[in-house]
Symmetry: C2
Subunit: 696 residues, 2 copies
Amino acid sequence: MQKIFYPDSIVVIGVSEKAENLGRNIAENIIRFEYKGKLYLIGRVKGNLDNIPILDSFDDLPEGIDLAVILTPAATTPAYLDQCGKKGIKYVIIETAGFSEFSEEGHRIEEKLGELAKQYGMRIVGPNCIGIVNTASGISTLFVREEKSEIAPGRTSFLSQSGGVVLTVADMLTAAGLGVGKEVSVGNKLDLKESDYLDYFLKDPETDVCLMYLESIVEGRALVNLANRAEKPIIILKSNTGQASHHVAQSHTAALANDDAIVSAAFRQFGITRARSFRELVLFAKGFAMPPVRGKKLCVFTRSGGHAIISADAATEFGFELDPFPPELMETARPFFRADIIDSTNPLDLGTVFDFNSYPILIEECLRTVKPNAIMLIFNYRRETIPLARQIAEQLKEMSWKYQTPIGLCYLTEMDELAYLERNLGYPVFLEVYDTIQTLAVSRDYFLWQQRTKAAQAAPPPKPAVPPDACQKAEKILQSRKSRQPLLPDALAIFEAYGIPVAPWVTAKSAEQAVKLADKVGYPLVVKAVGAEIVHKSDLGGVALNVRDADELQARIQAMQERIQAQVPGAEFQFLLQKMVPGGREVILGGKRDGSFGPVMLFGLGGIYVEVFKDVALRLAPLSEDEATGMIEEIQGAKLLHGVRGEPAVDLAGIKDTLLKLSQMMVDLREIYEVDLNPLLATPSGVTAVDARIIL
Amino acid sequence: MQKIFYPDSIVVIGVSEKAENLGRNIAENIIRFEYKGKLYLIGRVKGNLDNIPILDSFDDLPEGIDLAVILTPAATTPAYLDQCGKKGIKYVIIETAGFSEFSEEGHRIEEKLGELAKQYGMRIVGPNCIGIVNTASGISTLFVREEKSEIAPGRTSFLSQSGGVVLTVADMLTAAGLGVGKEVSVGNKLDLKESDYLDYFLKDPETDVCLMYLESIVEGRALVNLANRAEKPIIILKSNTGQASHHVAQSHTAALANDDAIVSAAFRQFGITRARSFRELVLFAKGFAMPPVRGKKLCVFTRSGGHAIISADAATEFGFELDPFPPELMETARPFFRADIIDSTNPLDLGTVFDFNSYPILIEECLRTVKPNAIMLIFNYRRETIPLARQIAEQLKEMSWKYQTPIGLCYLTEMDELAYLERNLGYPVFLEVYDTIQTLAVSRDYFLWQQRTKAAQAAPPPKPAVPPDACQKAEKILQSRKSRQPLLPDALAIFEAYGIPVAPWVTAKSAEQAVKLADKVGYPLVVKAVGAEIVHKSDLGGVALNVRDADELQARIQAMQERIQAQVPGAEFQFLLQKMVPGGREVILGGKRDGSFGPVMLFGLGGIYVEVFKDVALRLAPLSEDEATGMIEEIQGAKLLHGVRGEPAVDLAGIKDTLLKLSQMMVDLREIYEVDLNPLLATPSGVTAVDARIIL
């Protein structure tokens, strides 16, 4: 991909001298961005642009051009691509729209482009995209006119499923002082996909932070795998989350909606920061342009009690700790205060300190002695203080890097000065107390995730959670049946193979056999009718609870038999006898194979807690022990499992163990689409599965 | 208060020629703000400032000065205030700090100031404040140096519990193009309180929107009463919500923390918009600088599919409806599109429309024919389009007022141009898609609240919910007892007096009497021991459930008697027999007298739903019927009451009725501190209270 972003030569195809020609915009953007390589132009009519000839034939082009950019009517693109192939051009950006996002005919043309790319071994960006920008190599292939000064160079790169969004984010990154490294709009992804670009950005030595705008995530698993190995933060604005946007998204980039709860869970699990808006996308990127926040210890300096309180509220909301300042620091501070008594509260109110030069002194002393994980200065000043405030910002920037501790500069003054500082300081400036702390928290959470992930990767591989022959046994059971949905006995047997505790059970073909076998499970017991045609056993009267002895068993099975045969004449079925398990908390454990993210695990409390309160935790499988624990603790109802009103806690280790085994099952048995234990009964002394479902 | 904001003459006390003198800043700010009235200066040393003499004695001052501003050491302020009183000055701003927020001594000085104010009939702003600003009369009494150009005039007024915050919000209002009408920092509120200033702002013909920053709400009821009568929107940033801020807040303005859930509920109920940050405070104010959003119908125009999707997501999140555009509008649009086929989806993607002059044409056509409640234009453009984009903004601004429909201008381009537009257009400009729609939603919610409130005020008063003699009867029961906490029989009798259905009950002094009376309630029944010394009856074994006949009743009462006497020797108690009520959903209804907001009602599902899930609804009493219904529907668990899995709904009208009666009880019986029905059992056929508690 290096040749796309750092080509030695480019040909733009579809250029004319006309002012409204979009190909001309591309060519002129490349010139304005001071591209140093060779630039060739092709158009239908010969001409001249900024002293570069517009050629009307590929014959006049040299061999060995690195990159072609095509913006011609859709119908003409295959012919141009073919010519590129013949000229040995290996990388082509097709910006034209009107392909599969637009019509059947367009879809056919796009397929033709795909065939040509394969034939010549060409890699394609787009089609239906706005192109790429690389401020380092001086390239902008955008088809809207841009000035070089509109987009500041920087070390943040951006990958987008929408062209328009590229422009918006570039403006915002420039205004935020972060600038732009590389940008690409992926368009219809005929060839190169998000993960290809992300992989490149993650390896690119000129990129520190990767931002993405996505409308759909087709290969979620590939994305999180990249994130898991990445040494750089990734921030994603994922749209297309509501009903209203689905139709628009489909006609825009043929994007299908993802399950948004899975997207959020996967991002959290793999250290991807999710932004809800452009503002957050750029705001959070500012957090990564400072040294990392290595923990929860925050020190806040402010000139006003009001700002102190607001920052303390935000610190609480975002999980920071505000320890009071130690006496030594207060000694350093004392001479600068007008008041006699100063309060060592954190946030420290500098309202009676009128010599602003003391700010860097106090902050450096704090860095040296308190060693917080982050500092925040809320500096509220008027116009007359502008020169000094700028100078202090420079000092604190140096100090931040020297002590490897972020200093959140929340500057509050007139907008034009703030805009100047943001764009020019070379270090993040924040315009709002709340935003500053939220951003520090994002940086902290990413750092802590990285630490945990590295520790987990360095740790010895965990003991296998399941018996060594689990997978084999389960495969055998699955293969021995022809049904799409294994019956309950098979499902229970598969769970048992994986070492998951299941309430004792047997199957019987008749009431007589049931009576003989009942002692193997013991009374009281439950009888369930099982058979391929018994779809909703409860509705058919195919469940008998609390059967206390052999006589009752005999009678109730006979009644059941008659009921079912009356409703489903000729149905084949047998009886599953299962030990009644004395009460406990009902929990649900589930697994599902998501089209984009692969196996996903679910945990929640039973029944209405899932249905009405939507109180569930999700994680991608395979789960680590920490993640399994995390799922249990994450739900709101976790307190019930720990025991409320003096009740003892249920067997949390047992639930965790079962989650890990179920996760292993989802990884091993790829034919399983969905699985659930609903409910698993959890008591203080253990867990027991009583009902289970597997869908292939 | 008019004389504070529009004084004909001002004297500033505490001025010297020295550059670092803060009183000098006040005087010079007044001069720089081009105050048209007479300005006098008093200092310890005679001098001259900008050709105005600094007097060292009140003797040289004329009589009848409207306003004094004092900034001298705390200890000297009583003497100066006394002199003001003697000179007949009726309004005084005391900016000095170091009073009750600082020390015992300061507290005493502040009390002295209060006495003097009373003695002379003076009204006081502060002390410990930054003063006032009125851009209309050309006054800034701020003690930090300000330039007139730093703060643009406008029609948004701001009242703050913190001086520093005044400066921050003024900067942000100016940058947002809203400007500032009046500002005041209330300081320690020795005399004038938030509600005094708010009342004035609400009546002020030069103020359209009131913003407030509050750290504590001492008279919550007065605040919401003002809001309820107001014809102007009120937006409040309420801080001091977390543990970490409480200490800081106390040393800052002696502010005590409110119950934040009550604050939020009260704001929602009375149409006050709550902002979480400075950014939101100013953002939401922009929503009120456009015509109101009268409903949910939104039309979005955008140049990019990505922005279309993001706006559709936000529209869904904030409850807007995006109906497709009608064929007539699409006919108007067709000639502007480059593509043949255009999609009538809303958001409408103008990506292939290159003549931006069509935007106002299309939008006016939309206003004329579709008549949406709000329009949003997302305009993403480069530098070359700046002149045209400005011109379009002007056109749309006119159109918005002409059609009395807000047009959310979400302009996306370089920051300096956006900053220029925001400050100068004279109509809100938004810099982010999400923010635009969130702001339109705030404006809509306020408009709809206003409509509902006006309708309710115009409607005939509702029938009294409770029997006419309820209050009298209840008072009688309360007066006949001496206990701080009425026993269960009294509590039940009070609920019955209010017409709340209570499970049939009697009291008995002995087992024998109980057996005789039991038929009045019927078996099976519950026995509860009641007595002043029986605090936790369950712990003492003072509850017997499911008593089925007279023999069992006799036996269990005797056992109960022995158990209790063994544990609480000599305790006096009797037995309450209560009919066992067959199951149903448990709900909790409660009322509490909040120190700031007065009676507050609570509704939730029983037990763990309140304890673990915190799933409760709060409203201030008295409740209207709509509010009672709103409480029931607001909780997450409402679905359970409506019936899940085919169950019938419980008696929702009965719950509502009980809420209204309980609300009336809280209003009538002012000696009640807290009351709850926990649980009230709700079945499809009715509701029944089985346990109740009243705390006086």
